[in-house]
Symmetry: C2
Subunit: 225 residues, 2 copies
């Protein structure tokens, strides 16, 4: 294995271990030793990639957007809906993503870590999709894309939080479906509204269509380089 | 001062101190010593009321519903809207409430503390209001009160979280207004929809009408007994 490839793989192993430990223990209680033990790498390897616990947390926080990637759809509102279902589905199985979400949601992060990053990144990322939807005539004229997208990001954060607190996210897909059932009538023109698939199993079907099973982790190579 | 009255006041002082410390440091990093120092009470007094850090956290978690109390309204949907604006407003100034919300949202709580309690309590409390709205003919026939209320509780949790992360809650009232702007068309019959006040300053006006200024803490005596 080439040297660079090995470094990429090591970085990925460390990130996944850190995500799992942050998810289980939160920022404050997590130590570098716990991550080392989980990752089974040397101290030198870890510090080569991440000079501090803060930098490790920051890297874990920055993985969310790639893990919401979905196949493009002709209907851009459907694509937006798909992002939430796919992200919700991956959140069930992907420890790195769980850890990332916990770091964003917990207030524990120290000054050196920007735990508000995911909120901003999601809004910046999804507003593009909603603006495409607007340009295609899918939106009611009252919709202001930035406002609607920020509401979606905030509401989704809370819905997944409540689902985790009450059912360890077992009912997350149902709750996402209810969220869209309440939001779409204020967003979509009637002709588009009726065609949007917001069944709770939407995420499962989108992932199956791209050949990603539940057991698999989404490919992290994309953003670990 | 009678003995019982003194005990009530001491319990309240301890709770407020604990809320502030939990808000600043989170569950894990909070110690009983930090609460003692903030509350300026004796160790004996604290342990008389709260035998453990867990019991202190549980008591802080249990204060939320009373702090969402609002004057009754002829339109029950307006009353529901008012709860969110008033709660959001109090959240700006009330450290006990901030601490309570942080404990509910953080994953840090140990097995002995039920941090999902506020989610359930809010849903149980608000579903009654929404059922009254239904009985008065304010709701679209498609609305299932329990589902809608659970969505509202989850979405509100996330909206306040995002507002805290991005602006230290300075824009919370605007975000609550946007939330209702998106939810109400799926909930209210048209005749009711147009009459509902969801201006960002609604919370301020409701509180002014009952003579509660921003500087004042809501009266905690009700639930500290």
């Amino acid at each position: 294995m080439a040297r660079q490839e090995r470094a990429i793989r090591t970085r990925r192993v460390i990130l996944e271990a850190a995500g799992a430990v942050f998810d289980e223990h939160g920022y404050t209680a997590t130590t570098i030793s716990m991550v080392l033990e989980r990752a089974e790498v040397t101290k030198g390897a870890l510090y080569f990639h991440f000079p501090s616990k803060e930098s490790l947390a920051q890297a874990v926080l920055d993985v969310q957007i790639p893990l919401g990637a979905v196949p493009p759809q002709p209907c851009k509102l459907q694509e937006l809906v798909d992002v939430t279902f796919v992200f919700g589905r991956r959140l069930l199985h992907n420890s790195l993503l769980k850890g990332s979400v916990r770091l964003a949601v917990d207030q524990c992060a120290p000054p050196g870590v920007d735990h508000s990053g995911p909120f901003r990144q999601w809004a910046d990322h999804l507003v593009v999709v909603l603006e495409q939807a607007r340009d295609q005539g899918e939106l009611l004229p009252t919709v202001e894309p930035r406002q609607t997208v920020e509401l979606l990001v905030g509401a989704f954060a809370g819905v997944q939080l409540m689902s985790r607190a009450l059912t360890d996210r077992a009912d997350l897909a149902e709750r996402i479906s209810v969220l869209w059932g309440h939001l779409l009538p204020s967003i979509a023109v009637p002709g588009v509204l009726t065609g949007i698939d917001r069944d709770p199993d939407r995420g499962l079907r989108v992932l199956a269509a791209i050949g990603e099973s539940d057991d698999e982790q989404a490919d992290l190579d994309l953003f670990c380089r």
